[in-house]
């Protein structure tokens, strides 16, 4: 993956988030405060704008800019979580002009650790971690996994959050009443990962 692929990823992710903005907010309305779509759309639009106008020395520097933009713009709990994730990934890829899929999977694993450290969530607590942890693990375990398979798997992980009871974040206030809806952060994480795998698939072919 080179700088252009990375840019393509984030621009595609932004497009999907803009498309799904209302859906994300609707999910968050059911178990949170209804702003996840607005938060993500605001943050990623700004990321997309920055990427369109700025040059970066390396992919680490690019991801650092993404992190700071998300930290500054997102507003909700997802801001410091995604912000921390991209900050950790940027550190892992510091100084690299490009990287292998294994490098990237490792960087995303650092990002996952950052999310868990920041939010103290474990798997099964109905958060974005329920997408991040299994997807990154699967990719790390099998770096040669096909992109379609990863996209499929990511979707399944997201779907599983529906049956979960929220234990972290705002939705936790609802207790058992949080069961029955996809977690908004899990859905936005699916958008991020499926955009990534889509771009990697194109880059490989």
């Amino acid at each position: 993956m080179n700088q252009q692929n990375m840019k393509d990823w984030l621009i595609l992710a932004n497009e999907r988030i803009q498309e799904q903005k209302d859906y994300l907010s609707e999910l968050d309305r059911a178990i949170g405060d209804g702003d996840h779509g607005v938060n993500m759309a605001r943050g990623f639009q700004e990321v997309s704008n920055k990427l369109a106008t700025q040059e970066f020395t390396d992919i680490g520097a690019m991801l650092q800019q993404v992190a700071m933009t998300l930290i500054g713009k997102v507003g909700g709990a997802s801001g410091p979580l995604y912000g921390t994730a991209f900050l950790k990934a940027s550190t892992a890829l510091k100084g690299k002009g490009e990287c292998t899929n294994i490098d990237l999977a490792n960087a995303l694993n650092e990002a996952l650790k950052g999310i868990k450290l920041r939010g103290k969530a474990e798997i099964g607590e109905k958060t974005m971690v329920d997408v991040w942890e299994p997807v990154v693990s699967k990719w790390l375990d099998n770096p040669e996994a096909g992109m379609d398979e990863l996209i499929e798997f990511t979707h399944e992980c997201m779907v599983e959050t529906k049956a979960m009871e929220a234990k972290k974040g705002r939705a936790a206030y609802l207790g058992k009443r949080s069961i029955g809806t996809f977690d908004p952060g899990a859905v936005s994480s699916e958008l991020l990962f499926s955009s990534l795998f889509t771009v990697l698939k194109g880059a490989a072919s």
Partner: protein, 129 residues
């Protein structure tokens, strides 16, 4: 110098109003606020929080109070982003009631630990007589 106080809320107005109440009681304590997103919409901003901590910074440290859980995530991130080595302590205390007590405690020159303890103790004080 007395301990500084940082008030974080999802609403800019909320902490602006709270600061005014506290300023009336104790005008000498440094109180910095970080309310809302960068656009002053509902939310929090690690950048704003970082700036508020820098503003309230004193040799005696800074006690941080916040409204809801997601503010804490941004506050902890803000502390990691700090370039200074300010002593920062988070209060496990209700925002308004804790801040009231924290400001009084800071005003009499108590240490950061004492200010945090005072703020946290309000949970045990019944509000109804």
């Amino acid at each position: 110098m007395s301990v500084g106080i940082v008030l974080i809320s999802h609403s800019h107005e909320l902490v602006e109003g709270l600061r005014k109440i506290l300023h009336q009681i104790q005008p000498e304590v440094e109180i910095a606020i970080a309310g809302g997103t960068e656009e002053n919409e509902i939310g929090t901003s690690a950048i704003k929080i970082k700036q508020a901590i820098e503003k309230a910074d004193s040799e005696s440290g800074v006690a941080v109070l916040f409204d809801l859980g997601s503010a804490l995530l941004n506050a902890q991130l803000a502390v990691e982003l700090l370039e200074t080595n300010t002593k920062v302590a988070f209060c496990d205390a209700p925002l308004v009631e804790g801040a009231y007590t924290a400001v009084i405690e800071a005003g009499i020159g108590s240490s950061l630990e004492e200010v945090v303890k005072a703020a946290e103790s309000v949970k045990e004080v019944p509000k109804l007589l």
